[in-house]
């Protein structure tokens, strides 16, 4: 095998991974952008989405990708309920540090993970779909290829779904009234209020959308990953990294951030060592915080206004 093949295979892996990461990150970037809250229960919401997909598969043999249509609405309403009944009351009160909502989200995460343990046991679950390990191989189509590259079927399908969902979200945010109102709320709360945006409603809806998106990410992850009650934490972290890389509240930024992260992690794993991959993740995270405080989104903006 020649080095080029390894490089290309790594790049493919990085892009596929990045697309999926992006979808996890988008939910959080919306929530953080609009409400300025740090949601530590993000991964747990994803876990809930995964359990929905799992049980749909287990009980009704419904393909996890189809479960998106169940998981997204379910998490949308769960998100709305959480926002309305738990988070809003805390945000409303004037407290010394606004970060006290963190405890709330930690508490919510704890309860969600623990309820899953109680009701579903801690077993490792997965949806062993038939196409779980199938892949397309370049050598099947081109017998004498010098590069034997492969493309996993479920990874690719998940990736395409993620891209599709992200594009639809982008359309929603930029073309619809409600989407515009959400963006206005994120950019300048007071101005949005003056312009007659129903800020309160926007916040509730945003949390719902954020939860729904991460629920969708759960459905896309379960065919290629597995599930157990306490898996949330690591995905919360990834979502943070992408949010910062991409810039708060920016959909496009989150996509690019996800891709950067995915490719960077894969490259670190191949060329430095997989044990260091998490270090790499946080190093670009901190670098982005310092050198690119607005995330990728700020670069894009600069270009657009020719600055």
């Amino acid at each position: 095998m020649i080095p080029l093949e390894g490089f290309l295979q790594t790049l493919i892996a990085g892009i596929l991974l990045g697309g999926l990461y992006a979808l996890i990150g988008i939910g959080m970037t919306l929530i953080m952008g609009v409400m300025k809250i740090i949601n530590l229960a993000h991964g747990e919401l994803m876990m809930v989405g995964m359990y929905i997909a799992f049980w749909m598969f287990e009980l009704f043999k419904i393909d996890p990708y189809l479960s998106i249509f169940v998981a997204v609405p379910a998490l949308f309403f769960l998100g709305i309920a959480l926002q309305k009944f738990l988070i809003n009351p805390v945000l409303k009160v004037d407290s010394i540090l606004p970060e006290n909502q963190v405890i709330l989200t930690v508490g919510i995460g704890m309860v969600l993970a623990n309820l899953a343990t109680i009701f579903f046991k801690s077993d490792y679950r997965s949806t062993p779909v038939d196409y779980g390990t199938s892949a397309w191989y370049l050598s099947d189509y081109w017998i004498d290829t010098p590069l034997d590259l492969s493309l996993s079927v479920p990874w690719t399908v998940s990736f395409l779904f993620a891209v599709f969902i992200t594009i639809s979200l982008w359309f929603f945010l930029s073309k619809t009234d409600m989407g515009k109102s959400i963006r206005a709320t994120a950019q300048d709360l007071d101005a949005a209020l003056i312009m007659g945006v129903n800020v309160k409603l926007m916040r509730v809806v945003t949390f719902g959308i954020g939860a729904g998106l991460v629920g969708a990410a759960g459905c896309l992850f379960i065919p290629i990953y597995y599930l157990y009650p306490s898996l949330g934490g690591q995905f919360t972290l990834i979502a943070f990294v992408i949010t910062i890389l991409g810039g708060l509240g920016s959909t496009i930024g989150a996509i690019i951030g996800g891709l950067i992260l995915g490719i960077f992690e894969s490259m670190t794993a191949t060329y430095i060592g997989m044990g260091w991959a998490p270090v790499g993740r946080f190093v670009i995270f901190i670098a982005a915080l310092i050198f690119l405080p607005g995330g990728v989104a700020s670069l894009l903006k600069r270009q657009r206004f020719g600055k």
Binding site: L17, L20, Y226, M274
Partner: protein
């Protein structure tokens, strides 16, 4: 004043906790286990196994006429919580023997306390070599130390596979690291070349980058030490990248649980794994236990279950032989243990730098037609091993 009253309440509750809960015809036994958090799966499996064993013994009239009453405390996989539990068991409940917990980190925390307080502690699953290398008089370990986990596998490699090179992938935990280090040492002794030795963070999503590197090196054997489902992800992605090797080998844990086959499906086929025990193991009661567990909880237990199940039987044996049921006599009786359990022969020896360590044959299982079959050593085998294995491309 509020703080004061709070302290009062605190002391009051501690007082209540200190009250003795002993009844005469029962033997109360509390076991620390991770029931929440990322290790909870194994905590649950052990919990069920303890219960099965206790019920069996109680059905026969208990130990010296006393029924075992089990309770479980959630250590959450955190050493300081495990320590809290054990301090409580020793001080408040006056329990004279400690068994249990799952991870090496928690077992280490408990072992230190138990030895200081001179209460015998039976390690059930903690595998780190160091636990029984500290000159602890009161710490006994029924599972082999991590260095021996792969002993069966190594003899299989030597006699059947005869590889010249190996790639080692392991998760960055103490279990993974010490397993990988031991395998590296043994491989070098056998004259193999270690081409890749890489660790990864538990729970990683994508192994393809690192596997791409493995593919470039073309090792004879790919040896992986994974706690949990990383094992099946690794195999799935190996299949997907069509990385061929003479043998795919796993270092117990994640490769030996039934979920591995259920999740990796056809990618799991032909994979061999080191294990301490299998449901087909030819020890008295092994099969019965496995079947009973399956009928109750739906799947075969892995060796962790057998360890927990047998721990109660060791305890029964020890308590029957102990002169009195205080810590010193229990320790003496435990030291003299020489029995065969469903998990295998148990005898606590001081040798090779270990104290009170049980040494036993470890087995090799292979996934054959979607089932874990014992293949090595041949005297224990339930099926003939399949070797050489077909390349990914030729399978279907």
């Amino acid at each position: 004043m509020k703080r004061l009253s709070m302290l009062m309440i605190m002391m009051f509750t501690v007082g209540i906790l200190a009250g003795n809960l002993f009844a005469d015809d029962t033997l109360e036994l509390s076991i620390p286990l991770p029931l929440t958090g990322s290790q909870a799966k194994f905590g649950e499996m052990e919990k069920y196994s303890y219960i099965i064993a206790a019920d069996e013994i109680n059905a026969r009239g208990g130990i010296k006429g006393k029924k075992i009453v089990l309770s479980f405390e959630d250590g959450q996989g955190k050493p300081e919580v495990s320590r809290s539990i054990v301090e409580k068991l020793i001080d408040v409940d006056k329990q004279q023997v400690i068994i249990g917990d799952y991870s090496s980190a928690c077992s280490k925390a408990i072992a230190a306390v138990a030895n200081e307080r001179k209460v015998p502690y039976l390690v059930v699953t903690g595998a780190d070599d160091a636990i029984t290398q500290q000159n602890y008089d009161y710490v006994f370990r029924m599972n082999p130390s991590n260095a021996y986990y792969a002993a069966g596998l190594i003899s299989f490699l030597k006699q059947v596979v005869k590889p010249v090179s190996i790639a080692i992938l392991y998760e960055s935990s103490d279990f993974g690291t010490s397993g990988a280090n031991d395998m590296e040492k043994q491989a070098l002794e056998m004259g193999m070349k270690v081409l890749v030795k890489e660790k990864y963070e538990k729970g990683a999503v994508d192994f393809k980058p690192i596997l791409t590197r493995v593919k470039a090196e073309k090792p004879d054997v790919i040896y992986m030490v994974s706690y949990v489902m990383d094992a099946s992800l690794l195999m799935k992605q190996l299949k997907e990248l069509r990385i061929d090797a003479k043998l795919f080998a796993g270092g117990a844990a994640g490769f030996a649980i039934p979920e591995f086959v259920n999740n990796a499906k056809d990618a799991a086929e032909y994979v061999v794994t080191a294990t301490l025990w299998s449901p087909q193991a030819k020890y008295p009661g092994a099969k019965e236990f496995a079947e009973k567990y399956k009928s109750k909880y739906g799947d075969y237990p892995s060796y962790h279950g057998a360890e927990a199940y047998s721990a109660i039987y060791i305890l029964e044996d020890v308590l029957k032989r102990a002169k009195t049921w205080n810590a010193e006599d229990i320790r003496a009786a435990m030291k003299a243990t020489d029995m065969v359990t469903a998990f295998g022969p148990i005898k606590f020896e001081d040798k090779a730098g270990y104290q009170n360590q049980n040494f036993m044959d470890t087995l090799v299982m292979q996934v054959i037609k979607g089932n874990h079959e014992t293949i090595w050593p041949e005297s224990y085998a339930s099926a003939k091993y399949l070797f050489p294995i077909p390349s990914w491309r030729s399978r279907k």
